[in-house]
């Protein structure tokens, strides 16, 4: 591991953590994912080609680990983050705030299919271009754009258009 590789990887950790939170919807799972991603990147650092984007390479690793975990556990939709449950209000209290809370957004994100969640995390949250997102996910750019547009309309509906947008996954109205 060269010093340059290590330094660049360290700089990426905040963005990688944000990406991982967007995928998993859970801070602890996200930190686990970041750790596993770093461990895998370090053990395979010779596979990264100088001159190519390290962030895309790391995102691809994180995405693959997360998708493998999803396939193994079949956990989509059955996990409720502690904060999400609380924000939805066990006492019927309504929390009103101008800024969207992370719990609200995570709840909405976990309602999306995995492939759409990855694209939202890459393009909307990290600001990656459509073409780079296509390269990371291995999906044609036209498909990226149509999936992304669908996901963003859906998120807007979940967060702004529903009467009970803070309903957590797995909770009955």
């Amino acid at each position: 591991m060269t010093d340059e590789f290590r330094s660049r990887l360290l700089q990426l950790i905040p963005r990688l953590r944000r990406f991982a939170v967007a995928l998993t919807g859970d801070l602890d799972q996200a930190d686990d994912l970041v750790q596993e991603t770093c461990a895998r990147a370090l053990s395979r650092n010779t596979q990264w080609q100088q001159g190519t984007r390290l962030d895309s390479w790391m995102y691809r690793i994180a995405q693959n680990i997360w998708l493998d975990q999803l396939r193994a556990k079949k956990v989509r939709g059955d996990h409720v983050d502690l904060a999400m449950t609380d924000i939805s209000g066990t006492d019927g209290r309504t929390i009103v705030e101008h800024r969207l809370s992370l719990a609200d957004v995570n709840t909405a994100m976990t309602r999306l299919p995995a492939d759409q969640r990855v694209l939202v995390a890459l393009v909307c949250i990290d600001g990656i271009s459509y073409s780079e997102a296509a390269a990371i996910t291995g999906v044609p750019i036209g498909t990226v754009m149509s999936r992304l547009a669908r996901a963003r309309r859906q998120l807007h509906t979940y967060l702004e258009g529903e009467a009970t947008p803070r309903l957590a996954i797995g909770m009955k109205p």
Binding site: M1, T2, D3, R6, L9, L10, I13, P14, R15, R17, R18, V21, A22, L27, D28, A30, D31, D32, V34, Q35, E36, C38, A39, L42, S43, N45, T46, L82, A83, T85, D86, I87, G89, T90, D91, R93, I95, R99, L100, S101, L102, D104, V105, V120, V123, C124, I125, S129, Y130, M145, S146, L148, A149, R152, R153, L155, H156, T157, L159, E160
Partner: protein
């Protein structure tokens, strides 16, 4: 583009590219003019602006790196990862940690006299809830209840700043056997919540009687609980609901 944009209906993909600033200056000007003159088009644009701006900003709080990730990379001197370094990272993996923890517990639980004593400790509702309590204290608004482990839950009751310049929270742990225990924890500079005082579990009837004793009005100091007494000793100022929401959203990164 070979044809004017206005010759075709503006697609959602085009609106998305407009929101993401992915159009050429000419395309951008055309879409901007179309959106300005068509409320329906502006309505279709909203989800893309929303997810680009407000949704993305909600994740800003996750850019702060917690302690456990701050040393995720081992020190290096320009060499490729050595066996011990890879072993260290391997041992840090959560699944491996869980496996090792399970093995350790198995050995301990099957012990003789020490095993019995440890079994008693692990069998209590309090044992093993520490990590979940950390999360509950970190993320749960007051008057909400968080699930812990083994059927235990935790209701947060108040948040305040202490004279020691720490954020502190009062809570009630609700055990699976219907007993309750009031407690108070404060957040250290290292981000770890430390339980300052916690009562032994009591039955709900006794607990509700004691809870009334938390109220200063009409209660003499001698009858009040250790939690309330301790709170009074260290209280600097109560946090408002708005302050508390902000503190939780920003991971308590503002000192009192």
């Amino acid at each position: 583009m070979s044809e004017p944009l206005t010759a075709h209906p503006i697609s959602d993909e085009m609106l998305m590219r407009f929101a993401d600033d992915d159009l050429s200056p000419v395309e951008r000007a055309l879409v901007a003019a179309a959106v300005a003159g068509d409320p329906e088009l502006a309505k279709r644009l909203e989800p893309f602006r929303f997810t680009r701006d407000r949704l993305a900003r909600a994740y800003d709080v996750t850019l702060e790196i917690p302690e456990r990730l701050s040393n995720v990379l081992p020190p290096t001197h320009g060499a490729t990862p050595s066996g011990p370094i890879l072993l260290m990272l391997f041992l840090r993996r959560p699944d491996i940690r869980r496996g090792l923890l399970g093995m350790a517990l198995l050995i301990l639980v099957t012990g003789a006299v020490g095993g019995w004593l440890l079994r008693d400790r692990l069998g209590s509702d309090e044992a093993g809830a520490t990590a979940a309590m950390q999360r509950a204290l970190e993320e749960t608004p007051s008057h909400s209840t968080a699930r812990l482990d083994n059927g235990t839950s935790m209701k947060l009751t108040s948040t305040f700043a202490s004279i020691h310049k720490q954020w502190c929270r009062e809570y009630v742990v609700l055990y699976a056997n219907s007993t309750q225990a009031a407690g108070l924890a404060c957040r250290g500079a290292n981000g770890i919540w430390k339980v300052e005082v916690q009562q032994d579990p009591v039955s709900p009837a006794r607990s509700s009687r004691q809870t009334r004793q938390y109220e200063p009005a009409g209660e003499g100091p001698s009858e009040r609980q250790p939690v309330a007494d301790y709170r009074d000793r260290i209280l600097q100022a109560d946090a408002s609901q708005q302050d508390e929401q902000l503190l939780i959203a920003q991971r308590w990164n503002r000192r009192p």
